[in-house]
Amino acid sequence: MNDNILEIENLHVRFSTFDGLFSAVNNVSLNLGYNESIGIIGESGCGKSTLAFTVMRYLATNAQVEGAIRFKGINLLENSEKEMESVRGNRIAMVFQNPYSSLNPSLTIGFQLDEVGMHHQKLSKSQARKATIEALEMMNLGDPKGIVRRYPHQVSGGIQQRICIAMALLCKPDLMILDEPTTALDVTTEAVILDSIAELRDTLKMSMIYISHDIGVINKVSENIVVMYSGEIVESGPKKQIFENPVHPYTRALINCMPRGGVVKEKTKLNTIAGYVKRRGVDEGGCPFADRCDKKNDTCISKYGTKKIGEHHYAACDRAYAEDIPDKLKVRITPIARKKDPDFDSERDLLKVEDLHKIYGNKRKVYAVNGIEFSVKPHSILGIVGESGCGKSTTGHMISGLFPPSKGRIIFGDTDISIGWNKRDKETLKNIQLIFQNPGRSLNPSHTVEKIIGRTMQKLANINNAKERREKIIDILRKVDLGKEYLEKKPRQLSGGEQQRVAIARSLSISPSLIVCDEPTSALDVSVQASVLNLLNDLQVDTHVAYLFISHDLNVINYLSDYIMVMYAGKIAEYGKRDEVMENSHHPYTEALLSAVPEVDPTKQKDIIELEGMLPDPAKKIKGCPFAGRCHKQVGEICVKEYPPMVQLTEDHYYFCHIKP
């Protein structure tokens, strides 16, 4: 019993809402040993956070809890509020997903850290400050003395999150719970933080629960994995076993639906899981995953229960060894081959961008895009990747005409379209479509699906006959795997994946020749992302449309693109055919980016290139290489002073750096 620092036994958490009671955590039992780290994984809404908050005894008033949570033998659920106060922050610490909102905006960072020590360890003000500074140093924050005087909004997101972690470390807790601490951050920042967390665990010897929806991330920090689905643990075990021998169909699907290193569209089609996570009522028995499982049969309801698979490896699937589930995991479906259109001149540029600039604002200028040149070939996918704020969206928006460029030209076919939407002709508007990141926001919440798609058809394809239009809409909806019944629905009634399908249908309904996709999957769960990516790919094969695909996820870009463009601070870092960029990258930033991508396969861990600091201030004009300040390969003064020349490797592959190949 004393092997475990935390034992959760038959825990149930239910919320009563206006449409009844539902189970957010259902019969969860879990043990966590001293100095052990487990990662909890699962899609959004699976109850991961609820589980964590229940451990902290911090739940909304509409929650009902049942079961036991023993921390060092004491049942936390029976503790008084007062006793909990001495556990929280002291013995068990927690870090949240959104660092910015977790810090009190009106208190200095120092104050917020000091109070922890002062309260739990009864330190004096100066002692507390000393502890604070130490904790900040532990998180590799340079100039901790400066940081303590600042307010949260005065430091960047990455630093905020490190401060939050430092705050959790202050009392050297026995258990630390991290709830998706890096989800809101860039890959490069994420990599740095994950590294420090892993390091901390080694030095401080504490137990840890790490929550994430990304297996890659969990891989870096935990040895054991717990997979949650719809409030239940469906599989748990050491990460190696889970990865090599996933038993539960959900675990398998989860692993397989992620585009990971080396998976590309020509070779494999992504696995998808139909449907979405449903809330489960209290009395619903059986396997929660049954309705989405393509291998389900009658026993899924009746003979449902946890099975021991191997040492420390359990799975809640009765059919874990059933023969009809192929044992071979990495089986993937091969996609349909791309049809070649003989009339198609694939060498002519569909879109050409020359010296494109965008400066926002009048008084306080923001140099968002600072002179980029590239072209998009017809019937191809150009992926743009880069950190947040590097100007990806701005580029996409200028091309689709949301606003005109400040300088430079955009040539589409033969026409110059370096103008805003209000000056573009109908033909251009029709030919270039835009799909947004957040499907919920790009569809008008008060219009029906029919109106949303129909209006575009009416405006740009001149289909004015309502009946004819309706037929076409039904047609196009079928293409994105949605039925007729969706016509009358409003966006609110659709799930995220369905919403994005409607957005895609809207763009496709008028047969454009270029679709700018601005992070169309980053707001979606991995399983949904897979289906949207598949859909986009299939549609492109079908319709000859070209995509300008923007994402910050290199795996996604790698999977889908024919060409890749890496952007940094409003400039192009590297451009080339996908395989060339991925396998033969030359720009130091591309290298860093590639190294930072979390690897799903635990056997294939690699060293990351840590990037310190952050993007240069977009309000300043930079003379030299924008990456110089963070570059691990900096060659000297020249990097800061002079903008690097273009180095052309092949006709289609070039980069901007002072380092020659």
Partner: protein, 322 residues
Amino acid sequence: MKRLMEMFLRRLGSLLATLVVMSFVIFLLVEIMPGDVAQMILGQSATEEAVAALREARGLNDPLLERYGRWISGVVVGDLGDSIYMQGVSINSILWRKVGHSIILAMTAFIIFVPLSIFFGVLAGVKEKKPTDSIISFFGLATMALPEFVSGVILITVFAVQLKWFPIVSVIPIGESIWQNLNIVVLPALSITLVMFGYISRMQRSSMISVMNSDYIRAATLKGMPRRYVIFRHALKNAMLPTITIIGMNMGWLFGGLVVVETLFGFPGMGSLLMTAIKTRDVPLIEACVLLITVIYSVSTMITDIMYSYLNPRIRYQGGQK
């Protein structure tokens, strides 16, 4: 600090611009309205001749712009002109005494209702959905729904007529100053307080609730900070920020309420003066009162704005990001 100063100057500039336009609008408004001042002054037995003579004597026949010019150039140097009635009695000599009274009344009300409503608002917010909350919220709603003159009548009936604690009418005996008669301020201040209490405590409550549900309060609680500490050190300041704006925005209601209660209690303040001026169509006095109210009102909104940004580090240090 520099930003604050900058902001202050900018606001002051826009306030001046507002006042210039405003003064003309007020002037225009008052001047183009129907009704004849001269007729009003002379009453029913006035002959047309008498009215004409008076109009001429008071310069009422001059072109509008000329009159405005005359008026505004006086105002600029602090001369608000003469009351149309008491020639030789400058408005300055009438107005400021009453303004003083009104300010004492408003400040008294302010000093009562601001802490009171913030306290109860916070209490209700912290005890969300508990009986304490329901009682405070309902009381707030009820007082908010009673216009000043209704709550004033109730207060008069209870405290002045029945209990005789305070005078029914807020008159200062001849030869005495308001300081010797502070009991006349109590009931009018209370009736203003009641309305404002409802409004502000409700606002305070909802901002408290939203702050209490915020991530950083959750974080502070999960750091193991005791509830009281969380409420006072972490929640209060953030929850009070919106309240400050609300108070600023409600200065308008306060002034409206002032007119109403002053009229109700016969309180010798600016509000009842304005009311008399309107009834007697004392144009220069109306203009002076409205202009003054505009100034006080704008200045007080300006102060709340500045206070808001001073208390809010997100604005105070904007642009200070490294």
